[in-house]
Symmetry: C2
Subunit: 105 residues, 2 copies
Amino acid sequence: MAKKNLPLCPISRAAMILGSRWTTEILRELIDHESRRFQDIQEALIGIGPSTLSNRLKMLEDHGVVERRFYDDHPPRAEYVLTDKGRRMGPIFRAMRKWGSETAD
Amino acid sequence: MAKKNLPLCPISRAAMILGSRWTTEILRELIDHESRRFQDIQEALIGIGPSTLSNRLKMLEDHGVVERRFYDDHPPRAEYVLTDKGRRMGPIFRAMRKWGSETAD
């Protein structure tokens, strides 16, 4: 896990993970679906480029929020799932949604 | 209020406000103290430059989270305070802190 640039304050840490463009949308896909292939996420997120999606998934993996599972298929395929740590972000999402919808002025 | 680049999804909106470097630290200062002058915030946040602090405060003002109050003093001075909308971010902060402290591995 690449931890060297993580801020020490837990609030900043959560905010920096969630604040990168597309991160919340990617996590939303993985909350709504148990597992998603790269292509599934790309198709759901209109406008995201493959290199951006790849970078974001790598960042989420480095933070231990998302993990990649490989299946021994032909050709081999990978799926992305939330880790326990990723699922524990649910209350943050709900608080943000509540704030965002109360303050949509 | 500069709204043109705000994402429509309320979760992304909250995440993008909170995810900019230093934003959570600035809000923390304004939660802990009723009002803070520019200089107070700069002294509390070791390492932030004045132009970055100025940009972040402007961004928070544009989002309606922080407001600037002017006092008719000699010389005139300004203080920053949270708006109601800013104070309603409290539950997001608490959820992020809980997540960050549970997952500090």
